[in-house]
Amino acid sequence: MRGFFRSLFGKILIIAVAVILVGAALLAIFGEGSSVFRRTALAIVSPFQKGYTAVYNAVERFFAAGERYDDLLKENEDLRAQIAELEGQLRDVSEIMDENVSLRDLLGMKQRYESYDIINATIIGWSDTSWRSCFTVNRGSDDGVELGDCVISHNGLVGRVSELGGSYAEVTTLLDPSSGIGVSVVGNGVTALAKGQLEYMDSDRLLLSSIPHGSNIFAGDLLETSGLGGSIPPGLIVGKVERVSASPDGMGDYAVAVLAEDVSALTGVYIILDFSVEE
């Protein structure tokens, strides 16, 4: 041991360790250290994550295909029968579309968004700690992604971009304890703050706070983004209220909501690069 530290390699090692530790500590103290630190690590590790994810997906597809072969044969026969039926239904489609338009008008729904500039992204890595909920996607600033961009799935809002590199971005999900967004109840406009909680992280649930006492919010109510502040487009589905309770201090209510998306099952997402809202 003593001989090791007296050798040239040992001395170089000690100097390297000292330089790395002092450098990292200085970066941490003076501002953007943590960010630089993480960006560097992600830049190094993300190619390996991409490789593993590609292999994992291929293996998963292979086994899934093998297991489902018999099911697929039967499903194929069923689908052929359905095609015949659907061809008959196709004739009614234009009539249904017209009916759809008239129903929309009837309900007073309007298109709130002129356009979403969206790109798809594949999840290549997940946070390796029990205390955070975030993942890495294969899109970055080279694709036009910016910090704070909203990340959605087919079912609703998933999270926001919290870290950015050229070819990757880290997304902090709504379940993360550091996340917090303004939501409103579809239909009556009651607003609340939806925050991730460590105890709910595993079950895809959020805590709704800042609800005025006696507000019309009930289990089963649908939640959407309020859009207050302008950084998140309004109207994105967030989840559904599961239960409502009065806060212990009697000053207001709180609720628990189920996220619209099963975050842990996600393999791909969409990033909203730009949006505009019709007033």
């Binding site: 360790v17 941490a28 390996f48 994550q49 994992y56």
Partner: protein, 179 residues
């Protein structure tokens, strides 16, 4: 040990670290273990310390810790300091007590993993009322258990790297004694 073996080992350990941390952050979270987050890098650092001594262990622990701290995005330098120190300590203590075996590395890996994960849980989660103490047994310990099982191939790989150049080193030592 010849310089070329030191260079080869350094490159192999670096590649090993990147492979393991890539696996740990991409495939492991998708295997359906819920909030359990096994840390395989601890076992690599412990194995490097057992098979290659305090210097290699400390260096591998340092790089693993830096990458883990960066990717976890919390408690800056916690893993760096803890992992490098504990690996160097293992490398210093282990040869005086145990033989260089896979089982020894597994034991030290479990010890280091429990120490690192428990301290992190207690000082950055439990004391701040972010989770009940029971999560030490429902989240932290199962994570250690999974990591110990998955750590075996990691340790076996580190043993292969550790063996590189040892024969030449022993032969030159014998020649020196005979001479």
């Amino acid at each position: 040990m010849q310089k070329r073996f030191i260079v080869i080992k350094t490159v192999l350990y670096l590649a090993d670290i990147l492979l393991i941390i890539g696996f740990q952050t991409s495939v492991l979270p998708r295997l359906g273990a819920g909030r359990l987050a096994p840390m395989l890098t601890v076992y690599l650092a412990a194995a490097a310390a057992v098979f290659d001594g305090a210097g290699a262990g400390g260096l591998v622990g340092l790089v693993c810790g830096l990458l883990t701290d960066a990717l976890c995005g919390s408690t800056l330098l916690y893993h760096t300091l803890f992992l490098s120190l504990i690996s160097a300590l293992v490398g210093y203590i282990s040869p005086n007590i145990f033989r260089r075996r896979v089982l020894t590395a597994v034991g030290w890996g479990i010890f280091a993993d429990i120490a690192i994960q428990s301290c992190r849980f207690i000082f950055s989660v439990y004391l701040f009322n972010r989770a009940p103490f029971s999560e030490l047994f429902t989240v932290v310990m199962p994570s250690v258990g999974i990591a110990a099982a998955l750590g075996l191939p990691v340790i076996a790989l580190a043993r292969l790297i550790g063996r590189l150049g040892r024969r030449e080193s022993n032969q030159s030592m014998l020649r020196g004694r005979i001479g």
